[in-house]
Symmetry: C2
Subunit: 187 residues, 2 copies
């Protein structure tokens, strides 16, 4: 079916480089690049997840500029990219919203540089998405990654993108692009 | 072989939205994200191409912060990402440097939302890269794309990333990530 795929960028709870649980800042490029990628791959909604109200306000202001302000006159398709971008305070809030919209709980998919007992290949995950009728919520972490509790409670963990590479430090924006292409792109 | 693959981000000559030939600005995320993606996919050198000396100076300063400055202490793998990032004033300068290093001229590969007589699929291009002994230079445009002369004189033009999508406005950072994964990623 692949018509009920949601994406979330998690700014909290995530680890910082010392392993402490923190909230990271929303960056302008996370809003723009991931909204554009989500729209191009026909994601139903892209949730920017942050508990910080000031960050939510700032993000809304940036998107508003492109949707209503002079940004729209300058580049109309940029505003279009934000049509499906939403904000949520927590992962749980976003899950609840999706459940209300779809009438069923989304399956949570995460990504990791490690292998978990619930790890799945891109090919298998892609087949599921195209063939079954489930709602899927793909979560990406910022900072040094989502906390263990989220990873362990997710339904599927995607394999590392570059299992064989010696250097493997993609930006979250690049990781989102590659993963959406692998799962939902032209075969 | 796939061991002689170079990548270039072209800030000039490109079109602006009115079809005029201009030089765009280097953005901080073009430096970071594309250096990280290039390193992860084992690109030999990533060339940031701009004729503007002030932009070259700024880019060197940003990279220097992560390679030598306090950025290195904060996050060592970020500096590593820049080990293969170089600057060039023009496409021709970069081509000349690559030719001197490799002892032969690189084949130029570009990407476009249009189909050209020299268009090639990702699968065919990937096979060439893994099987033959050529030097390849993948060029990505900024702004509203590279000028026609560059497109027409390139050896190969890759097919549009999302041939079937109604919205197709990926950031150049996302496009680089997806294309390197399609050409050089795990099969």
């Amino acid at each position: 079916m692949r018509s009920k795929i949601y994406l979330g960028l998690v700014h909290a709870p995530v680890y910082n480089r010392n392993g402490e649980v923190v909230a990271t800042s929303v960056t302008n490029f996370d809003i723009h690049d991931i909204s554009r990628t989500s729209k191009t791959y026909d994601i139903k909604n892209y949730y920017i997840i942050t508990p910080v109200d000031a960050q939510i306000e700032l993000t809304k202001r940036i998107m508003g500029y492109w949707q209503d302000g002079s940004g729209k006159e300058y580049n109309e398709n940029r505003g279009e990219a934000f049509e499906r971008t939403l904000l949520a305070h927590t992962i749980e809030d976003a899950v609840k919203e999706i459940e209300e919209k779809e009438g069923k709980k989304p399956k949570i998919i995460t990504t990791s540089a490690k292998i978990y007992p619930n790890s799945i290949s891109y090919k298998n995950m892609s087949e599921k998405m195209f063939e079954d009728d489930e709602v899927y919520f793909l979560l990406f972490g910022t900072g040094w990654g989502m906390i263990e509790e989220v990873m362990e409670s997710s339904d599927y963990v995607l394999e590392p993108i570059r299992g064989t590479a010696t250097y493997n430090h993609l930006s979250v924006r690049a990781a989102v692009a590659i993963i959406l292409d692998r799962l939902l792109g032209e075969k």
